[in-house]
Symmetry: C2
Subunit: 327 residues, 2 copies
């Protein structure tokens, strides 16, 4: 058993939650995963369950107890401005926790997963899309993250939405033909017909009905089709996504630095990344792109910081390596 004070970083998302138990040197001693951890989307009780499950899994792996934890940093969207921490604090205290609970931005955790420098940027394009500028280790600028209806330009939702619109516009001939259409029809179990009613094909009516019968956000699930199809329409959607992400970054860009990239859209090389770099032009030269899987390492960096240990590259790298070894 390790009796020095320990630290826990929580990276809580809309679908799952990760907990990293670390010592003050930046060695990950335990890693655990739980369910949904954001009380805004999951509700307080369910979110607390998700966080506690992740913490208990991380503790179990190391044999430590919550009473030896000095600081818990919970990185999650929208909780810094929220008033009460009782939904989580009470549950931790009931398990023997006597330390401090601090909320941080999930985007700042993404940043510190890939960088330790006090100045830089983090950009996430997964289901949604957003960017932050970090100065002196704090968020001083933010762009997009406005959700599927108002923004998230260049996100997985944005790409999936563009695919759905391209398919229906192909079918009703207000848009060009594209190989995406057959992929979308197949996704919903529909086939092309020659049946027309009031000037419109039957499969278009059926597809429209299908698309409106699901929550809009589920269109994000169509996004992979744009990477699988290689016609001009699919490539155009991906290039436009990359340009949107570049424009979002440009709104907070004030100088060179690391650019930590989260989410799958911009993580891999290809049409989105190419258009992103091209749109940024000379500004891209000053950025060091660093894709990360999630904010788990960064949440632990923030936990160390809350305990008085400032972010340094050696510590971040040790956390990243030792977290990776336990996954």
């Amino acid at each position: 058993m390790n009796h020095e004070p320990l630290l826990i970083g929580i990276d809580a998302g809309g679908t799952s939650t990760r907990a990293v138990l670390a010592d003050r040197r930046g060695t990950c001693l335990g890693y655990g995963v739980g369910g949904r951890g954001n009380p805004i989307s999951a509700g307080a009780d369910r979110a607390a369950d998700g966080v506690l499950d992740a913490i208990e899994a991380a503790l179990a792996a190391s044999g430590a107890s919550l009473s030896s934890v000095e600081v818990v940093v919970a990185a999650m969207a929208g909780m810094r401005a929220a008033g009460s921490d009782a939904w989580l604090k009470d549950r931790l205290v009931a398990k023997g926790f006597t330390g401090r609970l601090v909320f941080e931005s999930d985007l700042l955790a993404t940043y510190f997963s890939g960088a330790a420098a006090p100045f830089g940027y983090a950009m996430v394009s997964g289901t949604g899309a957003c960017v932050i500028r970090v100065e002196d280790g704090r968020i001083t600028g933010a762009g997009d993250g406005l959700g599927w209806l108002l923004g998230d330009r260049g996100s997985g939702f944005w790409i999936g939405h563009a695919i759905a619109r391209a398919a229906v516009q192909d079918l009703d001939r207000t848009g060009p033909r594209t190989g995406l259409t057959d992929r979308v029809l197949a996704h919903y179990g529909l086939e092309r017909t020659t049946v027309y009613e009031d000037g419109r094909q039957q499969e278009l009516e059926e597809l429209v009905g299908m698309l409106y019968s699901h929550p809009p956000i589920e269109l994000a699930g169509l996004a992979p089709m744009a990477f699988e199809e290689s016609d001009a329409i699919a490539l155009g959607i991906l290039a436009e996504a990359g340009e949107h992400l570049a424009d979002t970054l440009s709104a907070v860009l004030t100088g060179p630095g690391p650019l930590v990239v989260g989410g799958s859209v911009l993580a891999r090389s290809g049409p989105v990344r190419d258009a992103f770099i091209a749109r940024l032009g000379a500004a891209a030269d000053g950025l060091q792109l660093n894709p990360v899987g999630d904010g788990a390492t960064g949440a632990a960096v923030l936990a160390l910081r809350a305990a008085g240990i400032p972010p340094e590259e050696t510590i971040r790298a040790r956390l990243a390596d030792t977290v990776a070894a336990l996954r």
Copy 2:
């Protein structure tokens, strides 16, 4: 009392229903208004109430009874393909109706409100946007009408959505400044602040929260702001709306003819109309734009047609004049 067989045309919409009682010469003998009349959006019972209320108001004005009505044509969206007419037929029969009930497209009723020619086009841009091509008095082509999530490009929803996005992008500096922003903030009772949290102004967070707390379709209510504001962003939104409507029309355009225009977006002269005409280019020369208020007159034209009296301009004009006199 008039004992010759009478005809009724119903123009049923998502918010109200109009009934025109006419004789075979095309004279409107009674006009009535009821509530929501489309069973797809309002439910069968409520829609039947809306249609019956409109019919009874039209009959009461003339002193006629439903037993003297030969044909009822009910023009409404999406009911031609629907199987059963019992939801309405049974209610009419219970009131003494012994004639025929025929469903027609609401867009075809819009067309015949403004034209009697067998070939032409009808374009509606209200909350939604769609176009039809009419040949031999039947719909042979359709464009858009794909709803707020997938299409309706150039509609009131499309304009309101663009306004909301322009405002949030102004506030988060991913877009240009615009006078629309203060209008949108005022609409939701919000004021500009200098309070920042994680790089984002408080009023932006509040506005985003407001916009997501209402059904997306209500963004159509913001559309008038684009006509009231005259900065480059507002004018750009209106011009793009006009171009989208032109592109939608172009998808079904095969030759010159009347273009009957429904809905408020394209009805008046101004930036939308100017961009619409400019985008159509030479094709606009062959179109006679004819704005109409609704499909009431056209539903009566369709009722006469169902009784064996083909559409003619003298009949359409008499119906339009005598309907207008009774409103």
